[in-house]
Amino acid sequence: MKILICDDSTMIRRQLTNMIFELGDFEILEASNGSSAIDIYKENKPSLVFMDIIMPELDGIGAVNGIIAFDKMAKVVMLSSVGTKDNLSKALKAGAVDFIQKPVEADILERTIGKYCKEV
């Protein structure tokens, strides 16, 4: 099962990857900006996407729009430090299925993956 992590921070991608590996046998795909996330999604169709919001080139909301335009059933979970009402509303409107506030806690990550990737 593939999970795409899109975040411009190498540290966040590394930490999430390590946390997800603890939860099961997943294939992790990484993107450091929204444009790259759309391209990787189109090529790989991952089961779940964790998407940051503030990123260079194309931000997370723009990337959700791009991914949902390609696949209406895509499961994109926003994972951002900026969980403001405004961002939450924009993300859900764009088609995100959930929102996790950074710093991410292992149990929330596990619950979220369990919810959207049924094998866990």
Partner: protein
């Protein structure tokens, strides 16, 4: 937290030297609290009453609490309260200073009162500070009426504690001259109800220790990853700040965080606020 703030106050007012303060911080952990110290802190006894009770203890070979109640200095209820406070961290500092002979009980009690007055703290706020709530003291140090700035600096302080180290206190803001160059500066602009320039800097050694703590792994040099970690800390802090403001119906949007090298931030209203930590000094730079 109280120990850092109060220690800084003692230092700034020449009540203790830097070397002595350092010894106090190192000795606090092994200090066992005495009831007299707690009773003074709670206002149940004066320092001179404690001296009298200590004298009576020697004559009667009884415990402090027993003597204090027997001779009418403390009620049973007050004794119960101070017995329950024997683990209080903030009092250990007071006792350590007295035990090391740097101050007398009277001088320490006087310093506590002066501190309360200087910072305009009510008894309630002072108790809150002793229990770890630092907001009022931080507001007083940064001396601004701007609630957004107050919230920002207080949250930065709390995030240093949450993610980096418990050992931190801050000094008063200083206006940036415009020709102060920093080897490494991490910055992020915030727009919305108010425009804010936010940044922080520290020397290389401190940044390596800082980023190691934040990333949860040992980093040994400044490289792309270390810089990424430092940028992410600012982004996380600013994100949490925006969320807090959003809860108060204030809208703030973050621009992408970046880093600069050998850079002098320029602006009429830029201030640096030093955060002194056990890792070294970290300077928050903020438009105020």
């Amino acid at each position: 937290m109280f120990t850092q703030f109060f220690g800084q106050f003692l230092l700034n007012n020449d009540l203790i030297s830097a070397g002595e303060l350092n010894i106090v911080f190192q000795s606090i952990k092994s200090t066992r609290l005495r009831l007299g110290m707690i009773a003074i802190d709670k206002g149940f006894l004066t320092p001179s009453q404690v001296v009298v009770i200590n004298g009576l203890q020697k004559k009667h070979d009884k415990r402090f609490g027993e003597i204090a109640v027997e001779f009418g200095y403390l009620t049973e209820e007050n004794l119960e309260i101070i017995l329950n406070m024997q683990q209080s961290e903030h009092l250990k500092m007071a006792q350590t200073i007295v035990d090391l002979g740097y101050m007398t009980l009277e001088e320490f009690a006087e310093a506590m009162n002066t501190y309360k007055k200087q910072h305009g703290l009510s008894d309630e706020s002072f108790d809150e500070l002793k229990n770890g709530k630092v907001d009022e003291v931080i507001y007083n140090i940064i001396r601004t009426e701007d609630h957004v700035i107050k919230e920002y600096v207080t949250l930065f302080y709390k995030n240093i504690i949450r993610f980096i180290t418990n050992d931190v206190y801050i000094s008063e803001p200083e206006k940036l001259s415009g020709d102060e160059h920093y080897n490494y500066l991490f910055e992020q602009k915030i727009k919305g109800n108010q425009e804010l320039y936010t940044a922080y800097t520290a020397n290389e050694k401190v940044l390596i220790l800082f980023s190691s703590k934040y990333a949860g792994e040992t980093l040994e040099v400044i490289n792309e990853f270390t810089i990424d970690v430092c940028k992410e800390f600012l982004n996380l802090h600013n994100g949490l700040f925006a969320v807090n403001m959003s809860d108060k119906d204030l809208k703030f949007d973050l621009e992408i965080q970046s880093h600069k090298e050998n850079f002098a931030p320029v602006g009429d209203n830029l201030y640096k606020i030093p955060f002194h930590t056990d890792l070294g000094d970290i300077c928050l730079i903020l438009s105020m």
